[in-house]
């Protein structure tokens, strides 16, 4: 018998993240490396444990192997406990039927039994797409104080961008009166962050009704929230003003990494009371050799730098050989930049190799990407915006 939990978190990690191109061909988006030693999923998981939420279901269905291995027992986030912890929840056969997760709401619907084990009062719904530090417990208190059925975290976006988001129109008490998905003429600039707290008994009822509706997309934004609003349920907006970055595209992932090099850093990663935890690769401290230059850069354990690095992020175990030049780039774990190679405005994915004298990326233009495990042969040029995968044709 499992003991009751006040709040259980459900993290939607099933999306393919196709806009990340070659980076998500073999791994789910939440497993993408970020910021020198993290994966995207470290942020919501660390937020949970820092917020006192110790029971987290991670819903996966796309390329889950890497993500499963990364989460493991949940120890890095203190989620390896006996009453609660972190659980990877792939779709499974139930009775005679069994199917993939059809939408965000359906994914939660298929895991009602998981949630019921803990008999929670509230359920927190998260996604694995954003870099942010947020106290979910403060949001939960807000939800309880407002006697809400659902609380939606929102942040104010520039008005000219508001039409790209799901926008919440609220009254003066922050009660949501209308929800508009990508409105042409937005009435508000409060954009949904995809972080929801529901009173579980209410959500359960709406999930079951939604499942009965054959025309539904089984999606929180398209179905559950509008249905609750139509029924005059109490939905409130919870404003969040901290750093929040979507990392759904190559450009935004690169930008979010570069943000860590801003001074002051827009997201405080040194805060000892709100650490972001990550699985540790267990390598020696990094080494900067004689003749190397390193400026305006983040470097983590296991790296060996013999060349020149400016304004970049080096992940665990990266090797920058003598005479290589790395500028404004993100070099993911285990990659090697060989002698004399030049990497500019680029992302080199896990275990990538840039051969001697090769060029990746350009001073301007879109971000170039070397896919996971790919090798750029010696002397080749990868122009801005190109993505090197198995099918890539190296010319010249």
């Amino acid at each position: 018998m499992l003991r009751k939990k006040t709040c259980v978190a459900m993290l939607l990690a099933g999306g393919q993240g196709s806009r990340l191109g070659v980076l998500t061909q073999k791994v789910a988006k939440p497993a993408i490396p970020y910021g020198g030693k993290y994966r995207i999923i470290d942020f919501p998981l660390s937020n949970c444990t820092n917020s006192g939420i110790d029971t987290v279901g991670v819903l996966t269905q796309y390329q889950p192997l890497e993500l499963n291995a990364y989460i493991g027992s949940g120890a890095p986030w203190d989620l390896d406990i006996s009453n609660g912890g972190v659980f990877v929840l792939p779709p499974y056969q139930k009775g005679k039927s069994g199917e993939w997760y059809r939408g965000t709401a359906n994914a939660i619907y298929q895991n009602i039994a998981f949630i019921e084990q803990y008999n929670p009062d509230y359920v927190l719904i998260l996604s694995g797409d954003h870099i942010y530090k947020m106290d979910y417990n403060a949001m939960l208190n807000y939800h309880i104080r407002h006697g809400a059925d659902a609380t939606i975290a929102v942040r104010e976006v520039p008005w000219e961008e508001a039409s790209r988001f799901g926008i919440m129109n609220t009254d003066s008490d922050d009660r949501i009166i209308e929800f508009e998905e990508k409105p042409k003429n937005p009435k508000s600039n409060k954009a949904s962050m995809g972080v929801y707290i529901f009173t579980w008994s209410k959500l359960r009822q709406y999930l079951e009704n939604d499942e009965g509706d054959k025309k539904s997309n089984n999606d929180f934004g398209k179905n559950i929230i509008p249905n609750m609003l139509a029924d005059k349920q109490v939905l409130v907006a919870y404003s969040f003003n901290g750093y929040w970055k979507d990392v759904g595209t190559i450009e935004s992932l690169w930008e979010a990494n570069m943000d860590l090099l801003e001074k002051p850093m827009p997201i405080d990663m040194h805060d000892k009371r709100w650490r972001i935890y990550a699985k540790n690769p267990g390598m020696a401290p990094h080494y900067i050799a004689k003749g190397a230059t390193v400026h305006d850069t983040l470097i983590t354990e296991g790296c060996e730098v013999y060349g020149n690095v400016e304004h970049s992020i080096l992940f665990a175990g990266v090797i920058i050989e003598e005479g290589a030049k790395v500028e404004s780039s993100v070099i993911m774990p285990g990659s090697v930049i060989k002698r004399g190679a030049v990497v500019q405005r680029a992302i080199v994915a896990m275990n990538g190799v840039v051969g001697p004298g090769a060029f990746v990326g350009e001073e301007t233009g879109n971000i170039a990407v070397v896919g996971p495990g790919m090798t750029v042969p010696a002397g080749k040029h990868i122009p801005a915006g190109d993505q090197v995968d198995e099918a890539y044709v190296f010319d010249k």
Binding site: G35, Y277, M283, I288, H295, D296, E301, E304
Partner: protein, 373 residues
């Protein structure tokens, strides 16, 4: 490998490490930017498949307990096995401090009795190595020895009036030993790592202690070798090892590790060294940072100049500060305009603006924990 247990003794003489060991055992000495000495030993044991490891602590063991915790970082938090910290306790015979290793083993004989493994690997904790202990045990079993000792021919491990040296025959049997000789005559330095059956060590220890003896090397090993009453042989460790028994040798080890070849020998991909994780963000380098031949851990902020140095986690080097041939432990700070050379800064030490501290190369200055200069 299921049948092997490990035991680490951490009560070595630490007087020559000065302030560095006031609050900690040698085993808990911070080394190589993010490790403690004991990490290498425990990791070697774990990588050899040992799942039951005891750590005998003597004095100043708080920092060691804090570091090892439940043993989780080494995957030693099992049910029957795992990591056991064995602090000294008061009994009628023992009033708190062990006079020697034998007394420590006697006091903890319960650990032997309770453990299921038949073979014991016993190691002290002032020598840093990353050895294939599974191969050592294999040798022990293949040669049907009663006791197998690990030794090295590394001349830097020799010390006058300290240590134990072995004479070996062609097949590796120990034919004579020198214990704390004025000048070592034999070139084979015993690394204070032995393989022995659990039952045998219990018997030997009980017998020796009841005759008022305290030294493992002099009172047990030397006698067995001289009487030829047991088969004692030795296995050579060919990797690099370091004895941490003085400020100089501590400094030397850290500086050696700056050499990529030495580092590769100690941090092998197939034999990872585990340690307590601190969850710091990667190190940040500023626009005007200059870094030459240095090891830098996560959480550091480098804005000044760092040369031939080791920065532990969370160290801050301000713009205009210059650090040369230094070891700066966790959370140390060197402020603007300061210059330090040949210094060892213990944890949280702070060198204020424009201070200048230059130690002689042969005798680095040690700045104690929390000291502000």
């Amino acid at each position: 490998m299921k049948d092997i247990m490990g035991l680490i003794y951490t009560g070595e003489n630490d007087a020559r490490l000065r302030e560095l060991t006031v609050t900690r055992a040698i085993a808990a000495m911070p080394v190589a930017g993010r490790y403690r000495v004991i990490d290498f030993l425990v990791s070697s044991m774990v990588n050899a498949g040992m799942k039951n490891i005891g750590v005998i602590t003597q004095k100043n063991y708080h920092s060691l307990m804090d570091h090892l915790g439940s043993g989780k970082e080494w995957d030693l938090h099992g049910k029957n096995n795992g990591l056991h910290i064995l602090p000294p306790f008061l009994t009628r015979e023992n009033v708190g401090l062990y006079p020697g290793l034998l007394d420590a083993l006697r006091s903890n004989s319960n650990f032997f009795v309770r453990s299921k493994q038949e073979i014991l690997v016993l190691s002290n904790s002032s020598i840093i190595y990353n050895a294939r202990l599974d191969e050592l045990v294999q040798f022990y079993q293949d040669t049907n020895a009663d006791i197998t000792l690990l030794y090295t021919k590394d001349p830097t491990m020799k010390r006058d009036e300290y240590g134990t040296y072995l004479q070996l025959d062609k097949s590796g049997n120990v034919t004579d030993m020198e214990v704390q000789p004025t000048h070592p005559g034999y070139d084979n330095v015993y690394m204070q790592v032995m393989v022995i059956k659990r039952e045998l060590i219990k018997e030997l220890v009980d017998k020796a202690v009841s005759h008022g003896q305290h030294s493992m090397d002099r009172d047990i090993l030397l006698r067995l070798v001289q009487d030829r009453s047991a088969k004692v042989n030795a296995y050579e460790y060919k990797g690099k090892c370091w004895m941490i028994d003085s400020v100089q040798s501590y400094f030397k080890f850290n500086m050696d590790i700056l050499d990529p070849k030495m580092r590769k020998g100690l941090f092998r991909e197939d034999m990872p060294v585990f340690t307590k994780v601190r969850d710091e963000m990667p190190a940040c380098y500023g626009d005007d940072a200059t870094t030459v031949n240095s090891l830098v851990a996560d959480g550091c902020q480098v804005d000044g100049t760092v040369e031939n140095s080791i920065l532990f986690r969370g160290v801050k080097i301000a713009a205009g500060a210059h650090v040369k041939n230094c070891i700066i432990m966790q959370d140390g700070q060197v402020h603007e305009g300061a210059y330090i050379e040949n210094c060892i800064l213990d944890k949280q030490a702070v060198i204020k603006r424009n201070s200048k501290l230059i130690g002689p190369e042969a005798y680095p200055i040690v700045i104690g924990k929390d000291v502000v200069i």
